[in-house]
Symmetry: C2
Subunit: 266 residues, 2 copies
């Protein structure tokens, strides 16, 4: 399977035609993958939900990264065949992967500015949580701003409930509790969030965007960049909604999460 | 641009990574494309909405089909580059195309059976109407049944409003009027529907699925298969909701639409 695992995909691959597939981006340090079990678990869940077999023999892949900090990107598609949207009865999934050098944006570990996006995510429980290849909503949301001092965009669903940021999950502390948006209707279930949730009580809640302004601390997180504390949140029109002071309460989540990635604590 | 227009796309193409692109499937008879202006118009609208340039020189492409009935599939992606979901400032879109022999399923012109799908389409006005490459909802919906006597699946949005079928638009006659679902929140704005709407009054309505059961005639249509009159509509659980008699009122839309595709009338 690996012989051509970096070859281009044929034009009739359903991954290109319909986004009929999944991907993972895995942080790899000196050939050792971080949060590997969480990545494999999400990929397996995605394959099951989409109805094709998980590729075998992924285990030995990260070791190919060699020394240094890398990101391993895996793409798994349903392969070719079928009749239009109708998938073939016996799919032959394709695996592709890429390895790239990686340096986290460590200046953002001290805190960032984010904004609300105008785009609302469509509600789709059948795909919620998966890291599938249908990511136009994320692309459009990320296209809403070009100011490089804005690190991320916060997304609500079409019912106005908080979901995630364009490529990171959201966690906040409010009324003494750690909370994160319910992801059963849309959004990507991040692997760093999953690993943290296994170790610490983080409540999944259905709330509107005002929850962020009420929070003592808000964090953006994913498995390659780590945790970015929020110092400032803007509305989609640029108005500042809330500021938080660096350090203090904002240090909580990095202290819990960064050891899982081998990144320095606050 | 055409020199490599059938080559596979590189692995880092955003069309594969995120479904960041569009497609068209065009019926071509003896090198002459049908509804070509409508296909180009939808593609141009998509490129504008996604924010990259429409490929030039598409005009001469259908002539390559030669004699016979073919389907020309065009895929246009934003190309490579960017930083994650952030698109490159100056995208270099890629065009790919495929030509295949085609025979319409003419036995379905006499009438078909359809069912409601359990899946509900997410509401996303930013992408509504476009034939973009994020089609997992359609793939999952089409996966809901395998009975070959069921020709299509009818889809509602997450608010329960009628939208389309998995790969066809819906038109019906009710209370003396031709109606079709409003597609401003989700669904694909089909080119045959667009061409018919230019020539005949077809009202765009926001209605629930019961509108179909109230209709004197219901049709499924797209620009390659033509028009399929509905003889029977089932619920997602298989219960028959309504039957219609062949011929009579069901002949209306094929009589209007099939000449646009060079297909025989009823």
């Amino acid at each position: 399977m690996w012989e051509d695992a970096q070859a281009p995909l044929p034009l009739d691959d359903r991954g290109l035609a319909y986004g009929d597939g999944l991907f993972e981006t895995v942080l790899v340090r000196d050939g050792r993958p971080l949060l590997w079990e969480a990545h494999l678990a999400r990929l397996a869940r995605g394959c099951e939900r989409l109805g094709f077999a998980m590729p075998e023999d992924l285990e030995a892949l990260p070791a190919r990264a060699g020394d240094g900090l890398k990101v391993l990107k895996l793409i798994v598609t349903r392969g070719g065949g079928g009749r239009g949207y109708l998938a073939p009865e016996t799919p032959h999934p394709r695996l592709r992967w890429q390895l790239g050098d990686f340096a986290p944006r460590h200046e953002r570990w001290a805190g960032v500015r984010a904004r609300h996006c105008a785009l609302r995510l469509g509600i789709q429980p059948a795909l919620a949580g998966l890291k599938h290849l249908n990511r136009l909503e994320n692309v459009l949301a990320r296209g809403e701003w070009s100011d490089p001092t804005i690190a991320e965009g916060v997304l609500c669903d079409s019912d106005g409930r908080l979901v995630e940021a364009t490529c990171m999950n959201l966690v906040w502390r409010r009324n003494g509790r750690l909370e994160t948006p319910d992801l059963s209707r849309c959004g990507v279930a991040g692997t760093l969030l999953a690993a943290l949730s296994e170790r610490h009580p983080i409540e999944r809640v259905r709330v509107g965007p005002e929850a962020l302004e009420e929070a003592e601390a808000v964090w953006l997180l994913n498995s390659v960049q780590g945790v970015w504390p929020l110092l400032r949140l803007d509305a989609a029109d640029g108005r500042c909604l809330r500021r938080w002071s660096p350090g203090g309460a904002l240090d909580e989540l990095p202290a819990l999460a960064h050891p899982l990635l081998g990144y320095p604590g606050p």
